[in-house]
Amino acid sequence: MQFNSWIFPLFFAVVYAVYLGLGPRRFRAQNGLLLGASYLFYGYWDARFLVLLGLSTVIDFLIGGRLEATEDERVRKRLVTLSVVINLGILGFFKYFDFFIDSTAELLAALGFSVHLPTLRVLLPVGISFYTFQTLSYTIDVYRRRMPATRDFLGFALFVSFFPQLVAGPIERAARLLPQIEAPREVTASKVQAGLWLLVWGYFKKTVIADQAALVSNPLFGGQWETLHGLEPFVAVLGFTIHIYCDFSGYSDIARGLAKLMGFEFLLNFRLPYLATGPSDFWLRWHVSLSTWLRDYLYIPLGGNRGGRFATYRNMFVVMALGGLWHGAAWPYILWGSYHGVLLVMERIWADARGIDPRRPLSLAGEWTRIVLFWPLMLIGMAVVRCTSVDQFWHLFTNQSFLLTDRAAAGLATLAYFTWPLVIVQLFQHGTRDLLVPLRLPLIPRALLFAALILGMLVFGVRQPVEFFYFQF
């Protein structure tokens, strides 16, 4: 069930009415309701997916309990290793098995060996990358004694499967979400208002900006790419850059808005990434719940920046390459992650050489200069992840010029037409350092803004539900 499908508003309206009816005193009953709703939400895609979700839940709940019960460090280490192996094993099998088999076959073919390796064409369960990382954070945190194991199986099952963030994040940490699940939630007017803003803004970003941008860029990356020239490659990549951000951050906003309506708080996942001043700043703003997960559970265990400069550079690169692989079992994702790894390492080398902090305070002019300078580098990364072949990327890269063709002009006009609300809102958010700044408006302008966004969605929203881009991860 997708947030932008017809059925979801009906589903949520029923769940929310019952949820509010139960009230915070019966929060465990509310948890039961949300768990049932979450399994229904997920099973709506394919009931078979529920088996894996249930399996992950039971295994990590049991391992968490055993970790808590024993003080023997060797046993604890074995238990957490078991959790990591099982979770990554499931993820690896369902997400990467066919990719590795196909890649091996291609490599052997390139070396002159004709082989027919068995492929299973495994069905990829929606959102498996997200909930696998989420459950892993639980067992690892219990192992590190950063949190106690929970004894509330119902609550833990809800933590793994909570429908607003189950299929595309934010990737929640057990230490943050479980305490919210295991206590009464307060639904206040302030939270409901903030939740509604996130819902309306998220849906607007998805159905109007992202989907309209996709209508510009998808045909250019599709059958037409060999004919692109002049500014058209730029328009294609710019369209995709707008599409992917509004699509994914729109989903995160909707997820966080739904959570707020029910009294929960999810992690911030996007903090104006297109106003980043450099690679390291970008990753403090883009998919924050993943980048901080990779930092805490991969970069730091690898040694972080504790092993000298070279080891730091190596760790940064490895983490980003694996982050790319997390996004998808395909070479463009790995190349995209590696590309950002290289950018991060270069920025770090440059900063180390000059003895400065890459995220040091900047003047307004310095900040905007760096924002503008980082944009081309970011766009190249977007082209890497969107192109389906090296040929396509090379064609786009080498046929780019400043010639404003009719197709480029039409694409730019459409992108500008639908993106200006995003630019204005984000400039205000950036200027005030407050992502909820629209709620500062007086009552009547605030109501006008809400109404304008809703009316905008009614008229300009793309009708055919377009699947959220990040579902494929």
Binding site: A189, A194, R271, L435, A447, A451, I454, V459, R463
Partner: protein
């Protein structure tokens, strides 16, 4: 401020239940107010070429079917291929083309006939149901049905007597109550490009109801055919024709017997490249099989014999849409076959 702190976060904005309730009510009022204006300003049929086709054909049907003449209902293949002037000239009776487009299915196509029969002094002699194969692979939606300028709920009294499922009834209601949503293409075109009126000269509709496509699009024909084959494949093991189409087609046969006109199921024109495909042939065979089954034993209903009329892509806009003189060729062949059947009687 700069450095890490320059990254925006979320700040708390306290509001009371009353202030929030007031804002919420204001938002609802604003949205409903604009929507109310849209309801007043919007015609039932959208300001698009499809909407214009529906409105024009409905108005044509309002004048009543030609007594003793030929009425054509069906999808866009019939809309562009059946020239009423050719029918009138070669058959010597009046002819009207009420064909619209595929998403109306057999059910919606029947509603045009029903509307045309309501005030007619006498029934037409022949009713042709012209459909391209793709129409049998399409799904209906309430928004399409709602584009007919007819009363909500009126479908329960129309031929064919086939009800709408709840989802389509809701869509029908939504289309009438929320034109901003249902007619978004009109409003988007009007707001973005100032296109508040349709330029009828770009897709002229003749006095008999035949639409004329201005030019062929040969390069688009084969890709479209692949899409159609995908839609056919997506029907899987389900019944072909669909349960909905079966009921509507039976209803049309029944109407022919009750009201005393001859009903002929006719294959619309098709691109030769698609007609040759095995998947398409198998799909069409199932449809023909069902047509033959419901016409068997009927005095009034039959399927037009003689096989498909196929055309090269050079004269087509898509695998089912004819352009220019090809429509005349199709119509002439159609009249020849009708005469061989002794129709009109």
């Amino acid at each position: 401020m700069a450095g890490i702190n320059r990254i925006a976060g979320e700040q708390e904005h306290a509001t009371g239940a009353r202030a929030f309730g007031l804002m919420f009510a204001l938002v609802v009022l604003l949205v409903l107010g604009v929507n109310a204006v849209a309801i007043r300003l919007s015609p039932v049929s959208e300001r698009t070429f499809d909407g214009r086709t529906v409105a024009t054909k409905w108005a044509l049907a309002s004048a009543g079917a030609p007594a003793g003449g030929v009425v054509v209902i069906g999808d866009s293949s019939g809309n562009f291929a059946v020239e009423t002037t050719v029918l009138e000239e070669r058959l010597g009776v009046g002819a009207r083309n009420y064909c619209t487009y595929g998403r109306f299915l057999n059910l919606g196509a029947g509603w045009f006939l029903d509307h045309a029969l309501k005030d007619a002094d006498a029934p037409p002699a022949v009713v042709l149901v012209v459909m391209g194969s793709r129409t049998f692979a399409l799904e209906a939606d309430g928004f399409t049905f709602a584009s007919i300028p007819a009363a909500f709920g009126g479908w329960s009294e129309r031929i064919p007597y086939v009800g709408l499922p709840a989802a389509e009834v809701l869509q029908f209601a939504a289309a009438r109550l929320f034109p901003l949503y249902a007619q978004h293409r009109s409003f988007e075109g009007g707001i973005r490009k100032g296109l508040w009126h349709i330029d009828g000269s770009r897709l002229p509709i003749g006095p008999g109801g035949t639409s004329v496509l201005p030019r062929a699009y040969p390069n688009g024909v084969a890709p479209f055919a692949e899409k159609v084959l995908g839609e056919i494949a997506a029907m899987g093991d389900g019944p072909i024709p669909s349960v909905r189409d079966r009921a509507a087609m039976k209803g049309l046969v029944q109407a022919a017997e009750e009201r005393g006109f001859d009903l002929v199921f006719v294959d619309g024109p098709v691109w030769e490249g698609l007609a040759d495909r095995e998947e398409h042939r198998a799909f069409l065979a199932k449809i023909h099989g069902f047509m033959d089954e419901i016409c068997e034993g009927s005095e009034r209903a039959q399927r037009l014999p003689g096989g498909l009329q196929v055309f090269p892509r050079e004269v087509m806009e898509n695998p089912f849409h004819l352009t220019g003189a090809a429509a005349g060729v199709y119509s002439a062949e159609l009249t020849d076959r009708l005469r061989e059947l002794g129709l009109p009687r």
